[in-house]
């Protein structure tokens, strides 16, 4: 088997060097969140984990993540025990910073391993493409910004996701794939958004006979059901014994939050807000009623709840229904044609639907779309042309996460570096499609990518010079609306590709 250079390990080493250099960079409150969880899991008995609320950053991830924090806290105890005190809020000695940042790099090795599995599972000519896609995920600016600067453990968890998706590629490891995904769900419940695709795929390929959908493979059903029950039992069992499940659920699913997150994630609701904003100006002319109380929230888009002045308000129920609807459409095709490529496409589309229509979506969730999509973006040029605007929009939409001047060159130059490098490499590697491409869509995406440059310049430089601290929502709104157009455009494009291939 021919080696392909550079290898994933080589990239991981150089990337790790860069990430270590970023240790002193800006870190968000998520750093304190995870320190607090280390402290909670280390110093309190299991039964109190989900009740502890000294810090406002209470434990709101499922139990496996808490166990994960508990394991890390054992090492943390050797590094600097002071970080493990629950009352030691905002503690960030350099040992704590080094330790926590280092755990992100170490746990990301899981991602490297999963990506290597992905490359090894690809055969023949597509191997080079798989290697390129794998490296693009490993070096993703999204992971760099969110994990290594902003601070989170997405690298590790996307590693598990990719591992489970790769396991689904081979019939003999389907069960393992399902169990891995169940374990992932017990680590971070955001992946529930992708669960419908898994459910349909495993149901069709594992629980039903490949020959006829009416022949149920009972043994497989038992294995899968029992396995998943066991995984959830290990995760939630200890808490269920004490009847703590309702408390955990209230922590995991806080429906009291608003429709849009603090920043506007680039989804349909961002466009909806934008339109509402425009209608406030237009409403008097066309005679639409304006809800005056909604106008009061001048800081709209910056904090808390968003109320709409002209357009009808959106309830969680509407979000939920729309999400499910747009998830269900691609799942029909997956059920009929349960190949691995369709499965990855369905996972991607589930990610899209939940990102675009979900309630209280955070812009970080865009990785839920980008990372699965990367695995099949090089299938042919039509996939690539749907991927391109997503890659630009998704990463640009992450920029507001970092607002400190020292990190500005890193987030922009790194993202541009990544986009130039991988869009160029992908362009070399993606084979021509057997079907005709959509002429207009290609032009649109080129135009779209070009617009990003003046947008970044405006949001990061021009706005500050012209307006200073006023109208702070403007750059956010522009970034968000711009990115929303890209994400929605690429979603529509990918839907077409998905259903026509």
């Amino acid at each position: 088997m021919a080696e392909i250079y550079p290898s994933l390990a080589q990239c991981a080493i150089v990337a790790a060097a860069f990430k270590i250099l970023l240790f002193p960079a800006y870190k968000s409150t998520d750093f304190e969140v995870h320190r607090n969880w280390l402290a909670i899991t280390h110093s309190l008995p299991l039964w109190e984990w989900y009740y502890e609320k000294t810090s406002e950053w209470t434990l709101d991830y499922p139990p496996f993540f808490a166990y994960f924090e508990w394991i890390m806290s054992q090492v943390a105890n050797l590094v600097d025990p002071s970080m493990l005190r629950v009352f030691n809020l905002e503690y960030d000695s350099w040992e704590t910073v080094y330790f926590q940042r280092f755990t992100v790099i170490i746990t990301e090795l899981l991602l490297v391993y999963a990506l290597q599995m992905f490359v090894d599972s690809s055969r023949g000519a597509s191997k080079r493409a798989a290697q390129a896609a794998a490296i693009s995920i490993l070096l993703s600016p999204g992971l760099l910004i969110i994990d290594h600067i902003h601070f989170q453990y997405n690298g590790c968890m996307y590693g598990i996701l990719i591992a489970s998706m790769v396991l689904a590629r081979d019939r003999s490891t389907l069960l393992l794939s399902g169990l891995t995904f169940a374990a992932l769900l017990c680590m971070k419940h955001i992946y529930l958004y992708l669960a419908p695709a898994y459910f349909v795929f495993l149901l069709r390929t594992y629980c039903l006979s490949p020959k006829s959908i009416f022949r149920i493979q009972f043994i497989n059903c038992l294995k899968l059901g029992g396995g998943i029950a066991a995984v959830f039992g290990i995760a939630f069992g200890p808490f269920a014994l004490k009847g703590q499940i309702p408390q955990i659920m209230s922590r995991l699913f806080p429906f009291s939050r608003g429709l849009c997150h603090a920043y506007w994630a680039p989804n349909v609701w961002a466009m909806y807000s934008f339109v509402d904003r425009l209608l406030i100006l237009l409403a008097p002319r066309i005679g639409l009623p304006i809800k005056t109380d909604a106008l009061q929230s001048v800081t709209r888009g910056l904090v808390g709840d968003t109320a709409f002045a002209v357009l009808p308000d959106i309830t969680p129920r509407v979000c939920f229904a729309l999400t499910l609807l747009f998830q269900a459409i691609p799942l029909v095709k997956l059920f009929i044609q349960p190949t691995w490529d369709t499965f990855v496409g369905a996972v991607t589309l589930c990610g899209y639907a939940s990102f675009l229509f979900g309630w209280h979506v955070h812009e970080k969730a865009i990785l839920l779309v980008i990372i699965p999509f990367s695995l099949i973006a090089l299938k042919d040029r039509r996939y690539l042309s749907a991927f391109r605007p997503l890659a630009v929009a998704g990463h640009v939409s992450l920029f507001p996460l970092l607002f400190t001047p020292a990190e500005f060159p890193i987030k922009t130059v790194y993202t541009i570096f990544w986009l130039v490098l991988f869009l160029m490499v992908f362009d070399h590697l993606a084979p021509a499609s057997s079907r005709p491409r959509f002429f207009l869509f290609d032009r649109f995406s080129t135009l779209y990518i070009t617009v990003s440059i003046p947008l970044i310049v405006y949001c990061s430089l021009v706005h500050g010079i012209v307006f200073g601290k006023r109208y702070e929502f403007l750059p956010l709104m522009f970034t968000s609306s711009y990115s929303a157009i890209g994400v929605v455009g690429s979603w529509v494009g990918f839907m077409v590709v998905y259903f026509t291939s």
Partner: protein, 591 residues
């Protein structure tokens, strides 16, 4: 982190197949040592670009990548960060921006010399003025007179880091890119290979650590010197002179190269035939550029005198005697119009060349400091020491420069520059540990030359760079910069397949000849010593009666290693110049 490096032996067929897969054109470059499989990780990173990507696709990526590492390294602390009372180099540079923007030009070289008085030549002062002006637009308090001293404003740090990066990308980086292009073309090195060399040169850890982490503007001076060398490669002698004057005008340290510049320019006027007009042209343009360099200072002084501004404002009574050449004032009319100018220039020279200081200031890995461990040099009169230093320096730099004078060949330039700079570093007066950047720069440029990435050159260039970083470790660890030191040096060693990450620069492909074994054992000894030293330094405190023990050992090992580097450069120069041997040897070298 250990990683499986790619296995060295791969059948040729597959390599071709790989190239064929991604490439529309199959122009594989069949020169250089990197044909079959990448022999070190850096080559692996650029592997997909072989014969596919054009230089213009690759270059922006290389520049962005190198810039990212520089900026990320700059997130760490700097020299003198929160270290009152004097702070460090960072404060010196900031202070110069303060005085050049706030004071009349005639006071630049005489203002409160106890607090980081300006002691670099005028181009640095002008550069500080420009940076200070731009910075004052953002926040005037950064460079307010007196009150801004020792400022640790985090935004100011970002601004200062940005000035280093921008200055480097305006001067050093273009100079290196052009030099690598010209030098590799001259040496018949393929474009792709030269891109590998370019990355290796740009990622050189020593310059990043000193300029972007510890804080200084060395790359500006080094960039001017590189531009001067690259003009020599293009037969643009006048530009070479101008760039070199700019380098001297930015940092007097560029004098390390002066002999080589002189020897090459003179040599090219004498051989193969005497070229008087070229000689006169170079002389005239050099004089003119020096004049231009001093013009703002002179004009500013005249202007200030006319407006009644003294260079030392608080002084009543007669003007102070000149700091140098005191005898001169007897011949000059102190009331004449030209006197303030003379005074100003002499004050500048006095500041720039501190003759009154000792043989060496701090612990530095040169010959004298190492000798001081054995014989206490302090007990000898400083006159004798100065004379000894002068003689030793001359003895070390005359051979390379004679070769360059009589053989003004372009491909000899980096070697001659490197050996001259090594000679100065090892034997001259008043050397600072950061001066090791000067010999390292031309030596690292060798990577772009013929066989530059082959085992032998890579091993020696790598050795010199890693040893150079290692001797600067005491300087860096004083301000808690161990982590960026470790990351950047290990990364570079990893990329080039050097110890401690790999032995591929010594033991790969075929049975090594006896010279390679010798290199391996010598370098191996030094690498082991460096590693052991790090372990000891990290785990043990030095005995109380010898608090400098680790630094002294560092200096001793460093001086020995640098001497070897000097000898290697000189030896290679002799071989390459074909003075002693005729082309038969040359052929054997480039087989």
């Amino acid at each position: 982190m250990a990683a499986p490096s790619p296995s060295p032996h791969k059948p040729r067929r597959k390599a071709r197949q790989r190239v064929g897969n991604g490439a529309s054109s199959l122009t594989t470059t069949e020169t250089g040592p990197l044909v079959r499989t990448p022999s070190f990780p850096l080559a692996a990173f650029l592997w997909p670009a072989r014969g596919v990507a054009s230089e213009w696709e690759l270059l922006p990526l290389i520049l962005m990548g190198a810039g990212l590492f520089r900026w990320a390294a700059g997130l760490w602390g700097y020299s003198g960060f929160e270290k009152p009372p004097m702070f460090g180099d960072y404060e010196a540079q900031r202070h110069w921006m303060e005085i050049t923007t706030q004071l009349p030009i005639s006071q630049w070289y005489s203002h409160d010399l106890q607090w980081w008085g300006l002691d670099y030549p005028p181009l640095t002062a002008y550069h500080s003025w420009l940076c200070g002006k731009i910075g004052s637009l953002i926040d005037p308090s950064w460079f307010a007179l007196y009150t801004s001293r020792g400022s640790s404003d985090p935004t100011l740090k970002i601004f200062m880091r940005a000035t280093v990066l921008v200055s480097e990308y305006l001067i050093y980086v273009p100079a290196v890119v052009v030099f690598v292009r010209r030098f590799s073309r001259l040496s018949n090195v393929a474009t792709w290979t030269s891109s590998v060399a370019l990355v290796a040169i740009l990622m050189q850890p020593a310059t990043i650590l000193i300029d972007h982490v510890h804080f200084q503007y060395n790359t500006v001076m080094l960039g001017f010197v590189t531009a001067s060398m690259s003009s020599m490669l293009a037969d643009r002698y006048l530009w070479a002179a101008i760039f070199f004057v700019a380098a001297l005008g930015f940092k007097q340290m560029a004098l390390y190269y002066a002999f080589s510049v002189f020897a090459y320019l003179l040599g090219s006027c004498l051989f193969p035939r005497i070229n008087i007009s070229r000689f006169l042209g170079i002389a005239a343009i050099t004089t003119a550029s020096f004049a231009l360099l001093l013009l703002p200072l002179v004009a500013g002084t005249l202007y200030d005198v006319n407006n009644g501004i003294d260079s030392i404002p608080d002084l009543d009574g007669p003007p102070p005697s000149l700091p140098l050449f005191q005898g001169l004032s007897e011949y000059l009319d102190t009331d004449a119009l030209y006197y303030p100018i003379v005074e100003q220039l002499i004050q500048m020279i006095h500041r720039v060349f501190p003759f009154a200081r000792g043989l060496f200031e701090d612990k530095v890995a040169n010959f004298w400091c190492a000798l001081n461990v054995v014989i206490k040099l302090k007990k000898y009169p400083s006159e004798l020491l100065q004379r000894g230093a002068l003689l030793a320096t001359l003895a070390s730099i005359v051979p390379p420069n004679l070769i360059l004078l009589f053989r003004p060949r372009k491909h000899l330039l980096p070697l001659a520059f490197a050996s001259t700079a090594w000679g100065f570093f090892l034997f001259s007066y008043q050397v600072h540990e950061k001066s090791v950047l000067l010999p390292l720069m031309p030596m690292t440029l060798l990577l772009a030359g013929s066989q530059g990435l082959a085992k032998s050159t890579r091993a020696w260039v790598g050795f010199a760079n890693l040893l150079g970083c290692w001797t600067m470790f005491p300087l860096l660890q004083r301000v808690d910069l161990r982590v960026p030191y470790a990351v950047l040096t290990l990364l570079w060693a990893y990329l080039l397949g050097l110890p401690p990450t790999s032995l591929s620069a010594y033991l790969q492909e075929g049975s090594p000849r006896w010279t390679e074994w010798l290199t391996f054992f010598i370098h191996g000894f030094f690498y082991l010593a460096m590693g052991l030293w790090h372990v000891l330094e990290f785990t043990l405190k030095p005995p109380p009666e010898k608090p400098d023990l680790w630094v002294v050992i560092n200096v001793g090992i460093g001086a020995a290693g640098f001497s070897l580097c000097y000898l290697w450069c000189l030896g290679s120069l002799v071989m390459e110049s074909e003075l002693l041997f005729r082309p038969r040897v040359k052929k054997a070298k480039t087989q």
